[in-house]
Point group: C2
Chain length 289, copies 2
Protein backbone atom coordinates (compact mmCIF):
# COMPACT_ATOMS: atom_id res chain seq x y z
CA UNK A 1 0.00 0.00 0.00
CA UNK A 2 1.14 3.53 -0.61
CA UNK A 3 -0.51 6.80 0.19
CA UNK A 4 -0.22 10.33 -1.11
CA UNK A 5 -1.74 12.56 1.53
CA UNK A 6 -1.29 16.26 2.19
CA UNK A 7 1.40 16.36 -0.47
CA UNK A 8 3.49 13.50 0.99
CA UNK A 9 4.02 10.05 -0.55
CA UNK A 10 4.35 7.42 2.19
CA UNK A 11 5.79 3.98 1.61
CA UNK A 12 3.85 1.64 3.86
CA UNK A 13 4.51 -2.11 3.59
CA UNK A 14 3.07 -3.87 6.60
CA UNK A 15 4.30 -7.28 5.35
CA UNK A 16 7.87 -6.27 4.58
CA UNK A 17 8.66 -3.56 7.16
CA UNK A 18 5.73 -3.21 9.54
CA UNK A 19 5.30 -0.19 11.77
CA UNK A 20 7.73 2.09 9.94
CA UNK A 21 7.38 4.31 6.90
CA UNK A 22 9.51 6.67 4.85
CA UNK A 23 7.83 9.63 3.19
CA UNK A 24 8.81 12.09 0.49
CA UNK A 25 7.20 15.45 -0.13
CA UNK A 26 5.76 15.41 -3.63
CA UNK A 27 5.57 18.35 -6.02
CA UNK A 28 3.71 16.42 -8.67
CA UNK A 29 2.62 12.91 -9.65
CA UNK A 30 4.19 12.94 -13.09
CA UNK A 31 2.86 9.60 -14.31
CA UNK A 32 0.83 6.67 -13.03
CA UNK A 33 -0.17 3.42 -14.74
CA UNK A 34 -0.66 -0.28 -14.24
CA UNK A 35 1.63 -2.21 -16.58
CA UNK A 36 1.23 -5.92 -17.28
CA UNK A 37 3.44 -6.64 -14.25
CA UNK A 38 3.08 -3.86 -11.71
CA UNK A 39 1.80 -0.48 -10.65
CA UNK A 40 4.22 2.23 -11.82
CA UNK A 41 4.41 5.78 -10.45
CA UNK A 42 6.81 8.56 -11.35
CA UNK A 43 6.89 11.31 -8.72
CA UNK A 44 8.58 14.66 -8.81
CA UNK A 45 9.66 15.20 -5.20
CA UNK A 46 10.63 18.38 -3.39
CA UNK A 47 14.15 17.39 -2.36
CA UNK A 48 14.93 13.94 -3.85
CA UNK A 49 14.37 14.79 -7.51
CA UNK A 50 12.42 12.35 -9.68
CA UNK A 51 11.37 9.12 -8.00
CA UNK A 52 10.32 5.76 -9.48
CA UNK A 53 7.79 3.76 -7.43
CA UNK A 54 6.80 0.18 -8.29
CA UNK A 55 3.89 -1.46 -6.46
CA UNK A 56 4.11 1.23 -3.79
CA UNK A 57 7.84 0.74 -3.12
CA UNK A 58 10.47 3.39 -3.89
CA UNK A 59 12.92 1.95 -6.44
CA UNK A 60 15.19 4.93 -6.89
CA UNK A 61 15.35 8.69 -6.47
CA UNK A 62 17.58 11.02 -8.43
CA UNK A 63 19.29 12.24 -5.27
CA UNK A 64 20.59 8.99 -3.81
CA UNK A 65 20.42 6.39 -6.61
CA UNK A 66 24.15 6.66 -7.38
CA UNK A 67 25.02 4.92 -4.15
CA UNK A 68 22.94 1.87 -5.04
CA UNK A 69 23.80 1.74 -8.74
CA UNK A 70 27.55 2.18 -8.19
CA UNK A 71 27.74 -0.39 -5.42
CA UNK A 72 25.64 -3.15 -7.05
CA UNK A 73 27.85 -2.70 -10.13
CA UNK A 74 31.38 -2.05 -8.85
CA UNK A 75 31.37 -4.47 -5.92
CA UNK A 76 31.10 -7.51 -8.26
CA UNK A 77 33.02 -5.89 -11.16
CA UNK A 78 36.00 -5.11 -8.91
CA UNK A 79 35.91 -8.61 -7.40
CA UNK A 80 36.53 -9.99 -10.89
CA UNK A 81 40.04 -9.73 -12.37
CA UNK A 82 38.75 -9.46 -15.94
CA UNK A 83 35.01 -8.67 -16.24
CA UNK A 84 34.53 -8.52 -20.00
CA UNK A 85 30.94 -9.69 -20.48
CA UNK A 86 28.22 -8.67 -18.05
CA UNK A 87 24.55 -9.62 -17.72
CA UNK A 88 22.09 -7.34 -15.93
CA UNK A 89 18.76 -8.86 -14.90
CA UNK A 90 16.12 -6.21 -14.15
CA UNK A 91 17.47 -2.69 -13.81
CA UNK A 92 14.80 -1.21 -16.06
CA UNK A 93 15.65 2.36 -15.07
CA UNK A 94 19.05 2.04 -16.78
CA UNK A 95 21.16 3.17 -13.81
CA UNK A 96 23.09 -0.09 -13.44
CA UNK A 97 23.90 -0.16 -17.16
CA UNK A 98 25.14 3.44 -16.84
CA UNK A 99 27.59 2.33 -14.13
CA UNK A 100 28.69 -1.02 -15.58
CA UNK A 101 29.83 0.51 -18.89
CA UNK A 102 32.21 2.81 -16.98
CA UNK A 103 34.46 -0.13 -16.08
CA UNK A 104 37.35 -0.01 -18.54
CA UNK A 105 37.52 -3.80 -19.04
CA UNK A 106 33.81 -4.30 -19.74
CA UNK A 107 33.21 -4.95 -23.46
CA UNK A 108 29.61 -6.17 -23.64
CA UNK A 109 26.62 -5.59 -21.40
CA UNK A 110 23.50 -7.67 -21.95
CA UNK A 111 20.40 -6.68 -20.04
CA UNK A 112 17.07 -8.49 -19.62
CA UNK A 113 14.19 -6.50 -18.16
CA UNK A 114 10.72 -7.99 -17.94
CA UNK A 115 8.68 -4.77 -18.05
CA UNK A 116 9.18 -2.61 -21.13
CA UNK A 117 7.01 0.11 -19.57
CA UNK A 118 9.62 0.73 -16.86
CA UNK A 119 12.24 1.19 -19.60
CA UNK A 120 10.05 3.51 -21.67
CA UNK A 121 9.00 5.65 -18.70
CA UNK A 122 12.58 5.86 -17.44
CA UNK A 123 13.72 7.07 -20.87
CA UNK A 124 11.04 9.75 -20.72
CA UNK A 125 11.23 10.85 -17.08
CA UNK A 126 14.55 9.57 -15.64
CA UNK A 127 17.05 10.37 -18.41
CA UNK A 128 19.95 10.68 -15.96
CA UNK A 129 19.57 6.94 -15.35
CA UNK A 130 18.15 5.75 -18.67
CA UNK A 131 21.18 7.22 -20.46
CA UNK A 132 22.71 3.84 -19.59
CA UNK A 133 20.74 2.29 -22.45
CA UNK A 134 22.29 4.63 -25.00
CA UNK A 135 25.80 3.25 -24.57
CA UNK A 136 26.77 1.09 -27.52
CA UNK A 137 28.14 -1.65 -25.25
CA UNK A 138 24.58 -2.28 -23.95
CA UNK A 139 22.12 -4.69 -25.61
CA UNK A 140 18.69 -4.67 -24.00
CA UNK A 141 16.23 -7.57 -24.28
CA UNK A 142 12.68 -7.30 -22.99
CA UNK A 143 11.90 -10.65 -21.43
CA UNK A 144 12.23 -12.98 -18.48
CA UNK A 145 15.68 -13.34 -16.90
CA UNK A 146 15.05 -17.02 -16.08
CA UNK A 147 14.23 -17.89 -19.68
CA UNK A 148 17.10 -15.80 -21.00
CA UNK A 149 19.67 -17.57 -18.87
CA UNK A 150 18.39 -21.01 -19.84
CA UNK A 151 19.51 -20.13 -23.38
CA UNK A 152 22.82 -18.52 -22.44
CA UNK A 153 25.15 -20.96 -20.73
CA UNK A 154 28.79 -20.38 -19.87
CA UNK A 155 28.73 -16.84 -21.27
CA UNK A 156 29.12 -14.15 -18.63
CA UNK A 157 31.82 -13.00 -16.23
CA UNK A 158 29.46 -11.05 -13.96
CA UNK A 159 25.67 -11.24 -13.47
CA UNK A 160 24.00 -8.36 -11.63
CA UNK A 161 20.39 -8.76 -10.50
CA UNK A 162 18.85 -5.36 -9.93
CA UNK A 163 15.38 -6.43 -8.86
CA UNK A 164 12.57 -5.02 -6.79
CA UNK A 165 11.84 -6.63 -3.42
CA UNK A 166 10.80 -10.28 -3.09
CA UNK A 167 7.12 -9.62 -3.70
CA UNK A 168 5.48 -9.45 -7.13
CA UNK A 169 7.48 -10.14 -10.31
CA UNK A 170 10.87 -10.40 -8.52
CA UNK A 171 10.06 -13.20 -6.06
CA UNK A 172 11.81 -15.95 -8.06
CA UNK A 173 15.04 -13.93 -8.16
CA UNK A 174 15.66 -14.63 -4.48
CA UNK A 175 15.29 -18.42 -4.69
CA UNK A 176 18.02 -21.04 -4.73
CA UNK A 177 17.05 -22.25 -8.22
CA UNK A 178 17.96 -18.79 -9.48
CA UNK A 179 21.50 -19.19 -8.14
CA UNK A 180 21.82 -22.52 -9.95
CA UNK A 181 20.69 -20.88 -13.18
CA UNK A 182 23.16 -18.01 -12.78
CA UNK A 183 25.99 -20.43 -12.04
CA UNK A 184 25.35 -22.17 -15.36
CA UNK A 185 25.21 -18.89 -17.27
CA UNK A 186 28.63 -17.85 -15.91
CA UNK A 187 32.07 -18.56 -17.26
CA UNK A 188 34.59 -20.12 -14.85
CA UNK A 189 35.47 -17.69 -12.05
CA UNK A 190 32.23 -15.78 -12.59
CA UNK A 191 30.64 -13.53 -10.02
CA UNK A 192 27.02 -12.66 -9.14
CA UNK A 193 25.58 -9.75 -7.18
CA UNK A 194 21.93 -9.31 -6.23
CA UNK A 195 19.92 -6.81 -4.24
CA UNK A 196 19.54 -8.39 -0.82
CA UNK A 197 17.31 -6.31 1.48
CA UNK A 198 18.12 -4.90 4.91
CA UNK A 199 19.27 -6.84 7.96
CA UNK A 200 17.17 -4.66 10.29
CA UNK A 201 13.96 -6.20 8.96
CA UNK A 202 14.87 -9.24 6.80
CA UNK A 203 17.68 -11.06 8.57
CA UNK A 204 16.10 -14.53 8.21
CA UNK A 205 15.39 -13.87 4.55
CA UNK A 206 18.95 -12.69 3.93
CA UNK A 207 20.30 -15.86 5.50
CA UNK A 208 18.03 -17.97 3.29
CA UNK A 209 19.13 -16.11 0.14
CA UNK A 210 22.79 -16.22 1.17
CA UNK A 211 22.52 -19.96 1.80
CA UNK A 212 20.98 -20.39 -1.66
CA UNK A 213 24.04 -18.61 -3.03
CA UNK A 214 26.46 -20.57 -0.84
CA UNK A 215 25.08 -23.90 -2.11
CA UNK A 216 26.16 -23.09 -5.68
CA UNK A 217 29.10 -20.70 -5.32
CA UNK A 218 32.54 -21.33 -3.82
CA UNK A 219 32.54 -17.97 -1.99
CA UNK A 220 29.64 -15.83 -0.83
CA UNK A 221 29.19 -12.72 1.29
CA UNK A 222 26.78 -9.93 2.21
CA UNK A 223 27.70 -6.27 1.75
CA UNK A 224 25.98 -2.96 2.50
CA UNK A 225 25.44 0.50 1.12
CA UNK A 226 23.65 3.60 2.41
CA UNK A 227 20.49 4.66 0.53
CA UNK A 228 18.29 7.09 2.51
CA UNK A 229 15.17 6.43 0.44
CA UNK A 230 15.26 2.66 1.07
CA UNK A 231 13.74 1.06 4.19
CA UNK A 232 16.05 1.54 7.19
CA UNK A 233 18.24 3.80 5.04
CA UNK A 234 20.41 1.19 3.47
CA UNK A 235 20.40 -1.94 1.35
CA UNK A 236 22.46 -5.11 1.21
CA UNK A 237 23.87 -7.20 -1.62
CA UNK A 238 24.36 -10.96 -1.82
CA UNK A 239 27.57 -11.65 -3.73
CA UNK A 240 28.91 -15.02 -4.88
CA UNK A 241 32.02 -16.14 -6.75
CA UNK A 242 32.75 -19.42 -8.52
CA UNK A 243 36.45 -18.91 -7.84
CA UNK A 244 37.38 -20.72 -4.66
CA UNK A 245 40.43 -18.50 -4.24
CA UNK A 246 38.41 -15.28 -4.42
CA UNK A 247 38.46 -12.88 -1.48
CA UNK A 248 35.33 -10.83 -2.08
CA UNK A 249 36.21 -8.31 0.64
CA UNK A 250 39.40 -7.26 -1.13
CA UNK A 251 38.95 -5.94 -4.68
CA UNK A 252 40.81 -7.91 -7.37
CA UNK A 253 41.18 -4.62 -9.23
CA UNK A 254 41.95 -1.68 -6.97
CA UNK A 255 41.21 1.69 -8.57
CA UNK A 256 43.16 4.61 -7.13
CA UNK A 257 41.12 7.60 -5.93
CA UNK A 258 42.31 9.44 -9.06
CA UNK A 259 40.88 6.65 -11.24
CA UNK A 260 37.68 6.60 -9.16
CA UNK A 261 37.22 10.32 -9.79
CA UNK A 262 37.94 9.93 -13.50
CA UNK A 263 35.31 7.19 -13.72
CA UNK A 264 32.89 9.69 -12.17
CA UNK A 265 32.18 7.42 -9.20
CA UNK A 266 30.78 9.36 -6.28
CA UNK A 267 30.20 6.57 -3.75
CA UNK A 268 32.39 3.55 -4.57
CA UNK A 269 36.08 3.47 -3.74
CA UNK A 270 38.50 0.73 -2.76
CA UNK A 271 38.08 1.69 0.92
CA UNK A 272 34.28 1.73 0.58
CA UNK A 273 34.48 -1.74 -1.01
CA UNK A 274 36.34 -3.11 2.01
CA UNK A 275 34.08 -1.33 4.49
CA UNK A 276 30.90 -2.61 2.82
CA UNK A 277 31.59 -6.12 4.12
CA UNK A 278 32.02 -5.06 7.78
CA UNK A 279 28.70 -6.27 9.19
CA UNK A 280 27.35 -5.45 12.64
CA UNK A 281 28.49 -8.18 15.03
CA UNK A 282 25.01 -9.70 15.48
CA UNK A 283 24.51 -9.84 11.71
CA UNK A 284 27.94 -11.38 11.10
CA UNK A 285 27.24 -13.98 13.78
CA UNK A 286 23.79 -14.83 12.45
CA UNK A 287 24.85 -15.09 8.81
CA UNK A 288 28.26 -16.69 9.05
CA UNK A 289 28.66 -18.59 12.34
CA UNK B 1 7.27 20.03 14.06
CA UNK B 2 6.00 16.55 14.65
CA UNK B 3 2.65 15.02 13.94
CA UNK B 4 0.73 12.06 15.29
CA UNK B 5 -1.95 11.28 12.74
CA UNK B 6 -3.92 8.10 12.12
CA UNK B 7 -1.75 6.31 14.67
CA UNK B 8 1.59 7.30 13.09
CA UNK B 9 4.22 9.64 14.56
CA UNK B 10 5.99 11.54 11.77
CA UNK B 11 9.28 13.35 12.25
CA UNK B 12 9.12 16.41 10.05
CA UNK B 13 11.99 18.93 10.24
CA UNK B 14 11.83 21.24 7.27
CA UNK B 15 14.95 23.14 8.42
CA UNK B 16 17.16 20.13 9.05
CA UNK B 17 16.00 17.55 6.49
CA UNK B 18 13.39 19.13 4.23
CA UNK B 19 11.09 17.06 2.06
CA UNK B 20 11.66 13.74 3.82
CA UNK B 21 10.11 12.17 6.91
CA UNK B 22 10.40 8.96 8.90
CA UNK B 23 7.30 7.67 10.67
CA UNK B 24 6.66 5.10 13.35
CA UNK B 25 3.34 3.44 14.08
CA UNK B 26 2.36 4.32 17.64
CA UNK B 27 0.48 2.11 20.09
CA UNK B 28 0.34 4.74 22.77
CA UNK B 29 1.70 8.15 23.73
CA UNK B 30 3.02 7.12 27.12
CA UNK B 31 4.10 10.55 28.34
CA UNK B 32 4.28 14.11 27.10
CA UNK B 33 5.58 17.25 28.81
CA UNK B 34 7.48 20.46 28.26
CA UNK B 35 10.56 20.54 30.48
CA UNK B 36 12.58 23.67 31.15
CA UNK B 37 14.63 22.91 28.03
CA UNK B 38 12.53 21.00 25.55
CA UNK B 39 9.39 19.15 24.57
CA UNK B 40 9.64 15.51 25.69
CA UNK B 41 7.55 12.63 24.37
CA UNK B 42 7.73 8.94 25.21
CA UNK B 43 6.00 6.78 22.63
CA UNK B 44 5.24 3.10 22.69
CA UNK B 45 5.61 2.06 19.05
CA UNK B 46 4.32 -1.02 17.25
CA UNK B 47 7.66 -2.41 16.07
CA UNK B 48 10.47 -0.21 17.48
CA UNK B 49 9.63 -0.58 21.19
CA UNK B 50 9.72 2.52 23.38
CA UNK B 51 10.84 5.72 21.70
CA UNK B 52 12.16 9.00 23.17
CA UNK B 53 11.33 12.15 21.19
CA UNK B 54 12.82 15.57 22.04
CA UNK B 55 11.48 18.67 20.28
CA UNK B 56 9.88 16.47 17.65
CA UNK B 57 13.08 14.55 16.84
CA UNK B 58 13.52 10.83 17.55
CA UNK B 59 16.43 10.40 19.99
CA UNK B 60 16.38 6.65 20.38
CA UNK B 61 14.16 3.62 20.02
CA UNK B 62 14.53 0.37 21.91
CA UNK B 63 14.99 -1.61 18.71
CA UNK B 64 17.97 0.17 17.17
CA UNK B 65 19.56 2.27 19.94
CA UNK B 66 22.34 -0.28 20.56
CA UNK B 67 23.98 0.59 17.27
CA UNK B 68 24.28 4.27 18.20
CA UNK B 69 25.18 3.78 21.86
CA UNK B 70 27.80 1.12 21.20
CA UNK B 71 29.45 3.05 18.38
CA UNK B 72 29.58 6.49 20.04
CA UNK B 73 31.15 4.73 23.05
CA UNK B 74 33.45 2.06 21.65
CA UNK B 75 34.84 4.00 18.68
CA UNK B 76 36.60 6.51 21.00
CA UNK B 77 37.21 4.02 23.83
CA UNK B 78 38.97 1.59 21.50
CA UNK B 79 41.03 4.41 19.94
CA UNK B 80 42.50 5.06 23.39
CA UNK B 81 45.14 2.67 24.74
CA UNK B 82 44.09 3.21 28.36
CA UNK B 83 40.68 4.90 28.81
CA UNK B 84 40.35 5.04 32.58
CA UNK B 85 38.30 8.17 33.18
CA UNK B 86 35.44 9.09 30.86
CA UNK B 87 33.15 12.12 30.66
CA UNK B 88 29.73 11.86 28.99
CA UNK B 89 28.03 15.14 28.07
CA UNK B 90 24.31 14.70 27.44
CA UNK B 91 23.14 11.12 27.09
CA UNK B 92 20.22 11.57 29.49
CA UNK B 93 18.65 8.25 28.50
CA UNK B 94 21.58 6.38 30.08
CA UNK B 95 22.41 4.24 27.04
CA UNK B 96 25.94 5.60 26.55
CA UNK B 97 26.74 5.10 30.25
CA UNK B 98 25.47 1.51 29.94
CA UNK B 99 27.97 0.90 27.11
CA UNK B 100 30.97 2.82 28.49
CA UNK B 101 31.03 0.88 31.77
CA UNK B 102 31.39 -2.37 29.80
CA UNK B 103 34.95 -1.44 28.79
CA UNK B 104 37.24 -3.38 31.11
CA UNK B 105 39.75 -0.52 31.57
CA UNK B 106 37.18 2.16 32.41
CA UNK B 107 37.25 2.99 36.12
CA UNK B 108 35.20 6.19 36.43
CA UNK B 109 32.41 7.63 34.31
CA UNK B 110 31.28 11.20 34.94
CA UNK B 111 28.16 12.36 33.17
CA UNK B 112 26.65 15.85 32.85
CA UNK B 113 23.11 16.09 31.51
CA UNK B 114 21.31 19.41 31.42
CA UNK B 115 17.74 18.15 31.63
CA UNK B 116 16.89 16.11 34.74
CA UNK B 117 13.45 15.33 33.30
CA UNK B 118 15.02 13.27 30.50
CA UNK B 119 16.88 11.25 33.13
CA UNK B 120 13.80 10.76 35.34
CA UNK B 121 11.55 9.77 32.44
CA UNK B 122 14.17 7.40 31.04
CA UNK B 123 14.45 5.70 34.44
CA UNK B 124 10.69 5.25 34.44
CA UNK B 125 10.00 4.33 30.80
CA UNK B 126 13.33 3.30 29.22
CA UNK B 127 14.91 1.08 31.91
CA UNK B 128 16.89 -0.92 29.35
CA UNK B 129 18.89 2.25 28.70
CA UNK B 130 18.64 4.02 32.07
CA UNK B 131 20.18 0.96 33.74
CA UNK B 132 23.44 2.67 32.77
CA UNK B 133 22.95 5.08 35.69
CA UNK B 134 22.81 2.22 38.21
CA UNK B 135 26.39 1.14 37.63
CA UNK B 136 28.60 2.20 40.50
CA UNK B 137 31.30 3.54 38.15
CA UNK B 138 28.84 6.25 36.99
CA UNK B 139 28.48 9.64 38.69
CA UNK B 140 25.71 11.79 37.22
CA UNK B 141 25.61 15.58 37.54
CA UNK B 142 22.61 17.58 36.38
CA UNK B 143 24.03 20.71 34.80
CA UNK B 144 25.60 22.37 31.82
CA UNK B 145 28.47 20.54 30.10
CA UNK B 146 30.21 23.81 29.25
CA UNK B 147 30.24 24.96 32.88
CA UNK B 148 31.26 21.52 34.12
CA UNK B 149 34.29 21.35 31.87
CA UNK B 150 35.46 24.83 32.84
CA UNK B 151 35.93 23.41 36.35
CA UNK B 152 37.49 20.10 35.31
CA UNK B 153 40.76 20.59 33.47
CA UNK B 154 43.22 17.89 32.51
CA UNK B 155 41.03 15.15 33.95
CA UNK B 156 39.58 12.82 31.35
CA UNK B 157 40.88 10.27 28.86
CA UNK B 158 37.74 10.24 26.72
CA UNK B 159 34.86 12.74 26.35
CA UNK B 160 31.70 11.55 24.62
CA UNK B 161 29.08 14.11 23.61
CA UNK B 162 25.73 12.41 23.15
CA UNK B 163 23.64 15.40 22.19
CA UNK B 164 20.49 16.07 20.26
CA UNK B 165 20.77 17.81 16.88
CA UNK B 166 22.21 21.35 16.53
CA UNK B 167 18.92 23.08 17.30
CA UNK B 168 17.68 23.93 20.79
CA UNK B 169 19.80 23.17 23.87
CA UNK B 170 22.56 21.33 21.96
CA UNK B 171 23.57 24.04 19.49
CA UNK B 172 26.72 25.09 21.37
CA UNK B 173 28.01 21.50 21.39
CA UNK B 174 28.78 21.72 17.68
CA UNK B 175 30.85 24.92 17.85
CA UNK B 176 34.61 25.29 17.76
CA UNK B 177 34.75 26.77 21.26
CA UNK B 178 33.36 23.49 22.54
CA UNK B 179 36.32 21.63 21.06
CA UNK B 180 38.71 24.00 22.81
CA UNK B 181 36.95 23.39 26.09
CA UNK B 182 37.08 19.61 25.65
CA UNK B 183 40.76 19.77 24.77
CA UNK B 184 41.47 21.48 28.09
CA UNK B 185 39.40 18.97 30.04
CA UNK B 186 41.38 16.07 28.58
CA UNK B 187 44.56 14.47 29.80
CA UNK B 188 47.41 14.16 27.27
CA UNK B 189 46.50 11.75 24.47
CA UNK B 190 42.80 12.26 25.17
CA UNK B 191 40.03 11.49 22.68
CA UNK B 192 36.64 13.06 21.96
CA UNK B 193 33.62 11.71 20.08
CA UNK B 194 30.46 13.64 19.28
CA UNK B 195 27.25 12.96 17.41
CA UNK B 196 27.80 14.48 13.98
CA UNK B 197 24.68 14.25 11.80
CA UNK B 198 24.32 12.69 8.35
CA UNK B 199 26.30 13.55 5.24
CA UNK B 200 23.23 13.17 3.02
CA UNK B 201 21.71 16.35 4.46
CA UNK B 202 24.40 18.13 6.53
CA UNK B 203 27.67 17.85 4.63
CA UNK B 204 28.58 21.54 4.99
CA UNK B 205 27.76 21.43 8.68
CA UNK B 206 29.83 18.28 9.19
CA UNK B 207 32.80 19.93 7.53
CA UNK B 208 32.42 22.97 9.79
CA UNK B 209 32.24 20.81 12.92
CA UNK B 210 35.13 18.63 11.76
CA UNK B 211 37.23 21.74 11.09
CA UNK B 212 36.40 22.98 14.60
CA UNK B 213 37.77 19.68 15.89
CA UNK B 214 40.80 19.74 13.57
CA UNK B 215 41.81 23.17 14.86
CA UNK B 216 42.31 21.83 18.40
CA UNK B 217 43.11 18.14 17.95
CA UNK B 218 46.14 16.51 16.31
CA UNK B 219 43.99 13.92 14.54
CA UNK B 220 40.34 14.04 13.52
CA UNK B 221 37.96 11.92 11.46
CA UNK B 222 34.32 11.24 10.67
CA UNK B 223 32.79 7.79 11.15
CA UNK B 224 29.37 6.26 10.50
CA UNK B 225 26.84 3.87 11.95
CA UNK B 226 23.47 2.57 10.76
CA UNK B 227 20.41 3.67 12.79
CA UNK B 228 17.10 3.17 10.91
CA UNK B 229 15.14 5.58 13.09
CA UNK B 230 17.54 8.49 12.40
CA UNK B 231 17.23 10.73 9.32
CA UNK B 232 18.62 8.97 6.24
CA UNK B 233 19.00 5.81 8.32
CA UNK B 234 22.40 6.47 9.80
CA UNK B 235 24.41 8.91 11.87
CA UNK B 236 27.98 10.12 11.90
CA UNK B 237 30.50 10.84 14.64
CA UNK B 238 33.21 13.48 14.77
CA UNK B 239 36.23 12.01 16.54
CA UNK B 240 39.41 13.79 17.59
CA UNK B 241 42.61 12.74 19.32
CA UNK B 242 45.30 14.83 21.05
CA UNK B 243 47.86 12.14 20.22
CA UNK B 244 49.57 13.03 16.97
CA UNK B 245 50.57 9.40 16.46
CA UNK B 246 47.00 8.12 16.78
CA UNK B 247 45.44 6.24 13.87
CA UNK B 248 41.74 6.57 14.61
CA UNK B 249 40.77 4.08 11.90
CA UNK B 250 42.67 1.26 13.55
CA UNK B 251 41.64 0.45 17.15
CA UNK B 252 44.43 0.80 19.73
CA UNK B 253 42.75 -2.01 21.62
CA UNK B 254 41.42 -4.77 19.37
CA UNK B 255 38.83 -6.97 21.03
CA UNK B 256 38.47 -10.46 19.57
CA UNK B 257 34.98 -11.51 18.48
CA UNK B 258 34.88 -13.73 21.58
CA UNK B 259 35.59 -10.70 23.78
CA UNK B 260 33.02 -8.63 21.83
CA UNK B 261 30.38 -11.28 22.53
CA UNK B 262 31.34 -11.47 26.20
CA UNK B 263 30.98 -7.69 26.48
CA UNK B 264 27.47 -8.14 25.05
CA UNK B 265 28.22 -5.87 22.09
CA UNK B 266 25.79 -6.48 19.26
CA UNK B 267 26.99 -3.91 16.71
CA UNK B 268 30.61 -2.89 17.40
CA UNK B 269 33.52 -5.12 16.43
CA UNK B 270 37.09 -4.45 15.33
CA UNK B 271 36.01 -4.90 11.68
CA UNK B 272 33.04 -2.59 12.16
CA UNK B 273 35.40 0.00 13.71
CA UNK B 274 37.60 -0.04 10.59
CA UNK B 275 34.61 -0.03 8.20
CA UNK B 276 32.98 2.94 9.99
CA UNK B 277 35.66 5.29 8.63
CA UNK B 278 35.19 4.25 4.97
CA UNK B 279 33.28 7.26 3.67
CA UNK B 280 31.59 7.52 0.28
CA UNK B 281 34.09 8.96 -2.19
CA UNK B 282 32.29 12.32 -2.53
CA UNK B 283 32.14 12.71 1.25
CA UNK B 284 35.80 11.77 1.73
CA UNK B 285 36.76 14.28 -0.97
CA UNK B 286 34.64 17.07 0.48
CA UNK B 287 35.77 16.56 4.09
CA UNK B 288 39.43 15.69 3.69
CA UNK B 289 40.80 16.98 0.35
Amino acid sequence: MDVIRNGWFSEIQEDLWPGQSFSLKVKKVVHEEKSKYQDIKILETETFGMCLVLDGIIQCTQRDEFSYQEMISFLPLCCHPNPRKVLIVGGGDGGVAREVVKHPLVEEVHQVEIDDRVVELSKKYLPSMACGFENKKVKLTIGDGFEYMKNHKNEFDVIITDSSDPVGPAVSLFQESYYELMKNALRPGGIVCSQGGTYWTDLEYIKKTLNGCKNHFAKSAFALTSVPSYPCGHIGFVIGSLDENANLKEPAIKFTTGEIDNLNLRYYSTDVHRGAFALPRYVEKFLYE
